[in-house]
Symmetry: C2
Subunit: 213 residues, 2 copies
């Protein structure tokens, strides 16, 4: 396996994985890059190029073996094992994220929930006690966790990321609008709805301009 | 401007825009593709290629004019005007999304909030009345809205997308884990935390394997 795979390619792999899971569920045995591309609005050439980073999955002109592609993507993405997750910030957003139905089936176990509000600490959310964020670092040192999800108010984002980092988490998903500093060895992704909207207004703006031309 | 710009490039433009806004705020006049790349973990060649789709912003060896890049990205992304947004589903997630602080400053005005729960309809959220989703289609026909954000429980996602589509919205941001059908002319993006986690576990899995080798 080559060492440097472009980040944009890695970001597309979960999409491929999700699609191929669905196709496997339908009982299909073989699928072409054309069909995969049609489903994902990606050119077949792009799909062949992306998948070629990880070895040879298909034979020229014969399509990909669905089962083999599924197994390999699962392995590549590290979904052949389970990952532990803590959610920090059990306000409205944190509650919604923690109860997202997709985690468990995909190998992600939410093992703890933290907040700083005395009215929330010690209450039950989704049948689990909310713990005091003041204990987060020590808890993580005793029971290491793989991933932290940050759903605190923006002004606390950096502080929580620092605690998670010192506590040894390896990856952080930041829901706050704050751009946080983090060590290079820690994976960090930001979820920002504004960025999603902006990539759509490009299209809206273009079609509006075409209509008035 | 060429007609077909790859979707992955468009998806990166909001990142460029955000970075260049910050650089402009710092009072910088010129910036190199190397510096932009360092900030975003993207190669300078990739940045030059991405921006070249939209015309010539910089001179070889001199870097980009920050103001010009800012103005052009703003125009390209359609951020030179304001966009109206409805949020459908005022549960925990919808409330968090609707109060996200980044919208207004970036040209997105949340003009209405809808729910189907009789206990929520008519109450105030962020100082605005929550309306009955049963009136959504008719309301949209009377007062058209550009963008819909879908934060309803998964089982209602398709129904809400259909209503938004019939009501004439042009773009939809789907927070539910459901993959919805929609007309090709409508822009639709899904926010799925599992996809974000999966693109990080690729890295975690690799570093774990390297450590045991």
């Amino acid at each position: 396996m080559p060492l440097e795979i472009p980040e944009v390619v890695i970001d597309r792999l979960p999409m491929y994985y999700r699609l191929i899971s669905r196709i496997a569920d339908q009982g299909r045995k073989v699928i072409s890059s054309q069909e995969l591309g049609d489903e994902l609005d990606v050119t077949p050439a792009q799909i062949r190029k992306d998948l070629s980073y990880f070895g040879r999955f298909g034979k020229q002109g014969r399509g990909y073996s669905v089962q083999r592609l599924y197994d390999e993507l699962r392995l590549i993405l590290g979904l052949d094992r389970r990952w532990t997750v803590v959610v920090v910030g059990i306000g409205r957003l944190g509650r919604a994220v923690a109860s997202y139905p997709g985690f468990e089936g995909q190998g992600f176990d939410i093992v703890a929930r933290y907040d700083s509000d005395p009215n929330v600490i010690g209450t039950e959310v989704d049948g689990e006690l909310v713990r005091d964020v003041a204990h987060l670092e020590q808890d993580l040192k005793i029971s290491p966790v793989d991933i932290g999800i940050v759903t605190v108010p923006a002004r606390y984002a950096q502080e929580v990321v620092d605690v998670l980092t010192r506590g040894g988490v390896q990856a952080i998903l930041n829901y706050t609008p704050t751009r946080v500093q983090h060590p290079e060895a820690i994976e960090l992704k930001n979820i920002n709805p504004v960025l999603f909207l902006q990539s759509m207004t490009y299209h809206l703006s273009r079609s509006a301009k075409e209509q008035t031309e």
